[in-house]
Symmetry: C2
Subunit: 226 residues, 2 copies
Amino acid sequence: MTKPCIICVAITGSVPRKKDNPAVPVTIEEQVESTQAAFEAGASICHAHVRNDDETPTSDPDRFARLVEGLKKHCPGMIIQLSTGGRSGAGRDRGGMLSLRPDMASLSVGSNNFPTRVYENAPDLVDWLASEMRTYEVKPEIEAFDLSHIFKAAEMSRDGRIPGKLYVQFVMGVKNAMPCDREVFDYYIKTVKRLTPDAEWCAAGIGRHQVEVNEWSIAGGGHTRT
Amino acid sequence: MTKPCIICVAITGSVPRKKDNPAVPVTIEEQVESTQAAFEAGASICHAHVRNDDETPTSDPDRFARLVEGLKKHCPGMIIQLSTGGRSGAGRDRGGMLSLRPDMASLSVGSNNFPTRVYENAPDLVDWLASEMRTYEVKPEIEAFDLSHIFKAAEMSRDGRIPGKLYVQFVMGVKNAMPCDREVFDYYIKTVKRLTPDAEWCAAGIGRHQVEVNEWSIAGGGHTRT
Ligand SMILES: [Zn+2]
Ligand SMILES: [Zn+2]
Ligand SMILES: [Zn+2]
Ligand SMILES: [Zn+2]
């Protein structure tokens, strides 16, 4: 039995601007258009951030609502995953869009360093985001920036804070967090299987590491993020 | 050839109070006395925090100076390691005692969660603490609360921000950081050896995990923290 390979398209992210890459979709209309092209090419999950008019990242629920509406119309059946990441807001603002009941949302369960700052996910915020996801029946994608995040996710799965099968994404190649390292990648898979045998996993390599990590994921039986 | 087993005694720490355990040495005098007993029993490194009169932790360089003076007098030859940890101060206050030129100081190189909060070690603070340690010729003990911290330490060793042999301590059993896990412990050792073959390592299990982790360390050829 072959598992289907899920392709997850991350539109826009929270960092690149039009001045860096004019092809980056930034407005809601551009995002929907770009996602539709990926959907027609076979992507089945859309991982989405939204931007303000000045291109800065935001967690604004109204913008997310417009995006979700456009995606449902133009990409029927596509799994919509909204980012609750900390580049777009702080504290509970990061979860304001969960009441839109997207299929999935990203969930960081630990803290780590980013290139120039601390990526803060305090324990009480993590618990609150997870409880909002239970309330609105949103499936979390755990963003594992380090090994202990896999342990934390498994703990939250065991005690019911995260219901159902765990879905973990390994994030590699972020400066000052976990680098892109094949042995660690294999150890992440081994650890997920040891702690929560029925979990699913995917992986994202940042920037120049994207293609490399995708190849490892496909070979290892995980999903891929483009 | 057998490597000598270095025993590192952590006096006081930053958390327990007299009301929790009346035997905890809290004043400088009590700390020196307690360290002397450990020194005479064979401990060769003293990992030290200091407290205010109300027992709250502090990074006050004057208190550290009095402690260092007492230790040098009563434990001649003992390696003195001062904590730059974030429970005792914030920002650059954490490194104010480095000008005392202790033999060693603890150095966190990444961020992670603690039981109720984020343990913040922003990249620029990490770099500043490391540069102060170079200035005052203080050998850092890397506090690895997660796997990526070992990678970060190896990177800083390669580029000279940490001169000499790396000395890494694995910290396990802190809630919301890395739990006490034998397979991870072995993987930490394997990773240290892969990334920086001439590094030395030790390990600390927090609270009820202390004895267990010490046994693993001795079996694995590392130093132990009591
Ligand atoms: Zn994202
Ligand atoms: Zn994914
Ligand atoms: Zn300490
Ligand atoms: Zn030690």
